[in-house]
Symmetry: C3
Subunit: 316 residues, 3 copies
Amino acid sequence: SVEATVGSFKTATAGSKAVTKVDSGQMMTSFLGFSGSEDLGGGLKAEFVLETFLATDTGGVVPNNAGQYWGRGSNVALSGGFGKIALGQYDNALFTYGYTYNPFGSSMGFSPTMRHFYSLGSLGNAKGAALGVDTGWVNSITYETPTVAGFAANLQVTPKETSAAGAKNSVTVGASYNAGAFSAGLAYMDADDQQSANTAAGTAFAKDQKVTSLGASYDFGVVKAFGQYTAVNNAVAADETIFQVGASAPVTAAGTVLASYGQYKTKNGGSKDTIFSLGYDHMISKRTDVYAVISNEKVTNVKAANSFAVGIKHNF
Amino acid sequence: SVEATVGSFKTATAGSKAVTKVDSGQMMTSFLGFSGSEDLGGGLKAEFVLETFLATDTGGVVPNNAGQYWGRGSNVALSGGFGKIALGQYDNALFTYGYTYNPFGSSMGFSPTMRHFYSLGSLGNAKGAALGVDTGWVNSITYETPTVAGFAANLQVTPKETSAAGAKNSVTVGASYNAGAFSAGLAYMDADDQQSANTAAGTAFAKDQKVTSLGASYDFGVVKAFGQYTAVNNAVAADETIFQVGASAPVTAAGTVLASYGQYKTKNGGSKDTIFSLGYDHMISKRTDVYAVISNEKVTNVKAANSFAVGIKHNF
Amino acid sequence: SVEATVGSFKTATAGSKAVTKVDSGQMMTSFLGFSGSEDLGGGLKAEFVLETFLATDTGGVVPNNAGQYWGRGSNVALSGGFGKIALGQYDNALFTYGYTYNPFGSSMGFSPTMRHFYSLGSLGNAKGAALGVDTGWVNSITYETPTVAGFAANLQVTPKETSAAGAKNSVTVGASYNAGAFSAGLAYMDADDQQSANTAAGTAFAKDQKVTSLGASYDFGVVKAFGQYTAVNNAVAADETIFQVGASAPVTAAGTVLASYGQYKTKNGGSKDTIFSLGYDHMISKRTDVYAVISNEKVTNVKAANSFAVGIKHNF
């Protein structure tokens, strides 16, 4: 899938000025991937995924936090009646529920949730974002249960991969429920300081961070409503909370209006970052759509900033 | 497409000695690409291109000037009766006309035009070549008109992508005419100092460089004649001129003799670089050809150097 | 092909501790490749290969010794009744016979031969392994004869690619014989100091190293026996010898037991590294297998280390 944008971008940082540019990765991160599934009989399947993020505007590769080429996904898995077990780099449940329960999905430029989780820039911890972990976890073992009566769960474990004293494994557990128009997901992550200890080995987690995130959506037909609440407990920094409310509304057979309001706050008198994005997405085919978005960011004691963009997404 | 060469190479620089090597990228830069086109109805199409240059001899990636992996092309486009509009990295008209109107095409090793434009080595500006820009422009918006009565035109704009004072956008306009055996193309480029200001953002242009380039060819049947003249106006260095005359002659059903003579000169008493290449290309199938080339380079006050090479090109 | 492992790994180095990790490349180095063959008529074919090694666990690219992306193979070739001639990066005969005549094949984690040749870690020359050359040779011209009465031979030459005094070309010659259950291969390499002189150009050989390697196997049906002996003559370091004896035994229609014992020794009172690996490989389809391996490493004057791993390989 490729995506490109032309727009005027500004962040709510002191002295920031609007910059007009051709960009990519704002509405969706472009990627090229190879994947396959082999039927092993008896309902069992062997599966693999190799996907590299890319920047359409410059021809660049967008690596994962570990600096690696196949940054979107890299794993081999067995699936069957027992669920699915995958080894390698696999999406983390905070990311999966994060993009599922907001109307802008995985948009790193316009989704308040994605920006607060992964690309805050102006605030947050040393990684410039609330979460010290990547969207996908490298070096992980991931297990997903089958769906039973609308319920499904998943477990992701990353060994510490070191014999250094004090290091711990990192774990995320997730659970989701889907019933008709209603959907909800809950994830809990306990990640250890693998990033500093193990950068060379490619792990990328924050020092002892515990995150609980709840998201839900309800599709009323004329409008689909979204809500998310996330609590971040940091061992070595102030705790953080993030919430988001949003809606998407199909206004024509091909057009959808998207709106999302999200707030990031550090506890104990820290700063607030508030983002409101309003967009219109128009499918010109099943594989191609064009969009226009305006996004406003406000940071405590900093002048608000507006960004505008139009762009195109094309799946292949 | 893959290409590899065995040859003896020498450049016209003081103290240079001939080196025998297995090489690639001399006759054509190898690449691997993914592209597609989706029919959107009504004559409208969505298109994408992702292409990476590579070095067959070492297994290396040959990045664009911005250092990026998908260096040959990376864009998403809409095309239809109105022409084509593309966002991302897209071939620049100086390159397109540059390889169209010389018999060695885009050969970075043997085409005098390509060497003088992009890989001069021993002379020229800080980039070691006359043009401070890449063969394809990253971060660009490119518009191509449809062809009407043999005429076509194109416009390529790259926003400056900075709020720094004094920076300007970069622009190239091109026009071409084709009528039977005759073909001609004219391009004008005005590129600003985006390279130094914006390296991290992936733009790669020279400081305030204005280039006018005219090329033409006429196919007499027994021989096709080529000519090119390029004037380079540099804000911070001596102006430059480049010309090339060449011919290709089909000598058998599968074999073609190629000859090209080109000269690069800096004004105000600067050095001259003269390259003459003579080659024979033999198609052993529609997709595969073998070639032999001898190339002579003369530089003012430096001993002339000869290079010899045989190689193979294979399209897939 | 993708491969991933979960295991406890320990090397026989002073102070080494066992580390539990999700890994890849232990049983087989994962890769993604593109290749093709064009029939040119008269038995002649044009062929190409572009293959990149990868690390499934992190999404990483595993470059060749020259640091290049297409590290597993990158070449264009012509083949026909005369044999095959290839230009570019092509497997070296020491590697080809090295993986052919041991039961763990090209396993960089568990095959004693592969570890002693290429990834010794704790002992050996500056490259941390007996051989100063890569598994595939970049910048090479490779010729393979056709097979006649079970005999085949190959020649690989890499020009020195420098005019520096004292540098020499590097050469490997190989010969193999196959007759029913019996197979043997003999390779001789004379590689020069291209690594230090030519790192930038992508060559990767050790300073004046001469290697003779003999391998053989015999398939008794209930068990296949393997043996290898390699003598390494170093111009600037102590000479080395490597031997391996091994066996593979099909115990069920889908399961095979693998055992390999190998020893690496430096002459003149140097250290010894002894590795014994015992594995079980189970094909769950023609394309997918799972395996379990235990490997013991002993080094002179260092406590022995055991590694355990289970994993999955999936070809696509």
